[in-house]
């Protein structure tokens, strides 16, 4: 293979780009994890084996009693370093994996989203940081409205 100057330059630029943004490469959507009907399988499909360790370094803000199961606001934040992803799993939903965020290094480790809950359920926030899994869980009650439907 002949290395001319132009190719050389191009390679140097490519290398520089990789060095500047070293970690953030996107994967494809983990479709099997989203299709999984149990929380444990969804988590295993999404993040690989290994039970997430309970961590007090994750804060999940979610109501104890959801006003409407169709719109439950969730915010997950963490002080953990080198956060790679934040995922939200609703155990009792038909397919428990609700959302997963691949977090680039330029983001603060916090994300908010509104999710649907079919019924009362534990909700887990799972953070992958430095190659390890951490989680926190909260029980959320979904009530049947008398008027609001």
């Amino acid at each position: 293979m002949k290395i001319d100057r132009r190719n050389m330059l191009r390679n140097m630029f490519a290398l520089a780009a990789v060095l500047t943004f070293p970690r953030f490469l996107f994967a494809a959507r983990p479709d099997t994890a989203f299709a999984a009907t149990s929380a444990d399988k969804a988590i295993a499909d999404l993040l690989g084996d290994g039970t997430p360790a309970d961590s007090s370094a994750i804060q999940m803000k979610i109501p104890d009693i959801a006003e409407n199961g169709a719109v439950v606001p969730v915010t997950v934040s963490t002080e953990l370093e080198n956060v790679e992803s934040i995922s939200i799993v609703v155990d009792n939903n038909p397919t428990p994996l609700a959302a997963s965020f691949d977090m680039g290094p330029k983001l603060l480790a916090t994300v908010s989203v509104r999710i649907k809950m079919g019924q009362s359920s534990p909700v887990r926030a799972i953070v992958k940081a430095g190659g390890k899994l951490y989680s926190t869980t909260k029980e959320v009650k979904v009530t049947i409205g008398g008027c609001g439907g």
Binding site: D64, C147, G148
Partner: protein, 279 residues
Amino acid sequence: MNRSISFLSLFVLGFGVGTVAHADPEADRLALVNYYQQRYPNVDLQEYANGLYAFDEVAREQWIEMEDFPPYEIGMEEGEEYFNTPFANGKGYADCFENGGIGIRQNFPYFDATLGEVVTLELAINQCRETNGEEPLPYLDGELVAVSAYMAYTSRGSTTNVNIPTQDPRALQAYESGKEFYYARRGQLNFACASCHAQSAGLSLRADRLSAALGQTTHWPVYRSSWGEIGSLHKRFRECNVQVRARPFEAQSLEYRNLEYFLTYMSNGLQLNGPASRR
């Protein structure tokens, strides 16, 4: 028997006419204000414009979170576009309303002396369309409600100020009909609007906190999470009627317009804060 019938009709007639002649909307409103202030001394009057969130801390937090980026903005912005798109004849909504339709939500509903009926904003929007040769739009949701949402938005912060021309007995009759609608039990469940929203406001019905009769009109149209879109006050009237298993009236029927007239009067003095999001 005959005597009892005539006695009864006399009674009904006398009762009906007498009360309309002596109907005192302001006394009704003050009674409600007084009632709630005694019952919930810690709830500021203006807070009633926020419905059940005046009472329910848990729900309120979620609502405030929703307000971070409220989903009604989607419909409201569509409404602004519709509002500014001219009709086929080159005119537009702005030509039908005072001040080009901006900041005038608080003037509705009003009693139209010529028509002899209560006119709501939604009715006026369709009147505007028909005057300009456009098809009237459905009243429950969609384009008309979006226009209404935009117009409500331009009126935020104005004060509800329904003015009932008390010298016009027809206006008082309309008010009184609306009041009767609110307080009469209906449907298989035998509930009046008031059964839930007057004496029971702030209490729970199954999992729901009930909003008060005060402030029920300030914030329409509303994006209800259960609807997944913005809808009109009359859509909610219909839904409430169906929930007690009463056959609902058509949106913008005389019955519902009179109800809106009464109910909006009860909110006089409260700030307009529509459109809004609710559970």
